[in-house]
Structure formats: structure tokens, C-alpha cells
């Protein structure tokens, strides 16, 4: 029984990683590619780690497997966000089938100011952040 569960976890994990690779090749633009690579690959690695934890069933290896899962869950979204954001603002073109873009009209490429679209006249004035590089 446990052999069966381990096998299923390993195979589905590997399939998700394969899926991420296919998605990277097939999808049409940067942002949709980020969807495929980060999430499918993260889920795949998590499943494989669960299988290895079940296979060895030792405290040290189980603890390490869970540490790997936690670190992937912490780092994968940050990396995806940073790459996607940089690509978007550098001007990588969106796929022709994109139905909507609510960011573009609110962004000022000269000042790098990003409005929320909820401003009243009062808070629409520019208040530079302390952390702004320029």
C-alpha cells in the first residue's frame, strides 16, 4: 500500500515537472510562462519530497524534506514576482490574446509612479517613498 502511494507521488511529481518544461516551450509570452514554470515545478518538487520522506521515514530525512518544501514555498513566489515584474516594466510584449490590462494606464514610465486608480484629488499628489532609489 505504502509502495503504491510513494510511486503515485513520484510519478505525479515528475509529470508536473515535465508539464512545467512543456509549458515553458509552448506558452506564448513571459508572464504566462512564469505561471507554468514556477507553480507546476514547485508542486512537482513538493510531491517528490513527500515521497522521499515516506520512503526513508527517518527523522533527519523527513525534517530535511519538510525544510525543502517550506523553502520552496517561501522562495518560488518571490522569484516569480520579481522576474514577472521586471519583464513587464522592461516592456516585454503581452500575448495578442490578452483580454485586459489594468496596469498600463496607471503606470508612468518616466517617473516609475504606479497609481492605484482609487485616488481622490487629495491623495493623488506624489509622495515619494523613503525607499525610492531616485
Amino acid at each position: 500500500m505504502i509502495e503504491f502511494i510513494k510511486g503515485t507521488l513520484l510519478i505525479t511529481g515528475a509529470l508536473f515537472v515535465l508539464l512545467a518544461a512543456i509549458g515553458l516551450l509552448r506558452l506564448p509570452d513571459l508572464l504566462t510562462r512564469m505561471h507554468a514554470t514556477t507553480k507546476a515545478a514547485a508542486l512537482g518538487v513538493i510531491l517528490i519530497m513527500l515521497a522521499s520522506a515516506m520512503h526513508f521515514a527517518e527523522v533527519g530525512i523527513v525534517a530535511r524534506s519538510f525544510a525543502i518544501i517550506v523553502f520552496i514555498l517561501m522562495t518560488a513566489p518571490v522569484a516569480a514576482h520579481v522576474i514577472g515584474r521586471a519583464g513587464y516594466f522592461v516592456g516585454s510584449r503581452l500575448w495578442s490574446g490578452t483580454v485586459k490590462d489594468e496596469l498600463r494606464p496607471n503606470y508612468d514610465p518616466l517617473t516609475h509612479e504606479l497609481k492605484s486608480g482609487l485616488e481622490t484629488h487629495e491623495n493623488a499628489k506624489r509622495h515619494p517613498r523613503d525607499t525610492d532609489p531616485d
Binding site: 508536473f16 512543456i22 505561471h35 514577472g84 513587464y88 490578452t98 496596469l103 504606479l114 492605484s116
Partner: protein
């Protein structure tokens, strides 16, 4: 936070007193410690709200795994079949999270579910811009994102 530390201390005390130094025994000790904390919560002010938080965290993990698998299968289907069913787009989601920590958590959770990727926060931190892969039903997507944000914020407040 005090609740979690006390729970860990009680678990360690259980491990020391029973003399069985294994991870499983620590887990057993933590469970007993949790039950003890639930029993004394009405008398001790510092523990206020701790027992209610654990079921919420477990419920949230379950909810999140369900979303993760569901959305992954949807993306997988679209990658494997030749015609594109997706309708990608960038939407602006008004945030109810206020502090930097809360915004970071919400943005990361949104990035982790397949089909949505957080792009940027507006300068006044009121709106999160999200790239979504499936915009067929925008209201439904906004509703489920708001539900996820609401559940995540409940864990911190």
C-alpha cells in the same frame, strides 16, 4: 505568539519527562500541551485567542492545497491541449491588507496559486496588480482571490 512558545515548552517537558527523544513523541507532547492550553485559556489572559488559531491554520492549509491542485490541473489541461483556452490579463485587486507583512503574505499566496501572479503594488499600497491566466469569469476570480485574502488575514489578526 506566547501561546505557541508555551505549547513548544510543554511539548519539550513531555519529551524530557517521558525520556523518549523522538520526533513522534515531541508531536504527542505538543498535542497534550495544546489540550492543556485550551483548558486553561479562560483563566490566562495572555493566551487569549491562541486555541482558536490552530484550527484556522489547519483549515487554511487544507483550503490552500485544494486551490493549488485544482488550479494546477486547469493550467496543465491548457498546456497539453493544442488550442489556447486561456484569456490572460492584468487586473487590479483592491487590498484589505494594510501592513507590509500582510501585503507580502497575500501577494505570495496569490503568486503561489497557479493562474495568478502578483505583479506590483501601487505606490499608495491600496491595489495589487495581478496577472491572471483565466479571465473568462472575472467576478468569480475576484471573489475567490478576496476569499483567499480574507482567510489569510484571519490568521494574523
Amino acid at each position: 505568539m506566547t501561546g505557541a512558545i508555551w505549547n513548544l515548552l510543554l511539548g519539550l517537558a513531555w519529551v524530557l519527562l517521558s525520556g523518549d527523544f523522538s520526533g513522534l513523541n515531541l508531536l504527542v507532547g505538543m498535542v497534550f500541551g495544546y489540550i492543556a492550553l485550551v483548558l486553561i485559556e479562560p483563566q490566562v489572559g495572555a493566551l487569549q485567542g491562541y486555541p482558536a488559531r490552530l484550527p484556522r491554520i489547519i483549515g487554511f492549509i487544507g483550503f490552500f492545497i485544494k486551490e493549488l491542485v485544482q488550479a494546477n490541473l486547469r493550467v496543465a489541461f491548457d498546456i497539453l491541449t493544442p488550442p489556447w483556452h486561456m484569456k490572460p490579463g492584468v487586473i487590479a485587486l483592491p487590498l484589505s491588507a494594510r501592513t507590509e507583512m500582510e501585503i507580502t503574505m497575500v501577494a505570495n499566496l496569490i503568486s503561489l496559486t497557479p493562474g495568478t501572479l502578483s505583479l506590483d503594488v501601487s505606490d499608495d499600497r491600496k491595489v495589487l496588480y495581478i496577472h491572471a491566466m483565466f479571465l473568462d469569469d472575472e467576478d468569480e476570480l475576484r471573489r475567490s482571490l478576496k476569499e483567499m485574502e480574507h482567510r489569510a488575514l484571519e490568521l494574523f489578526r
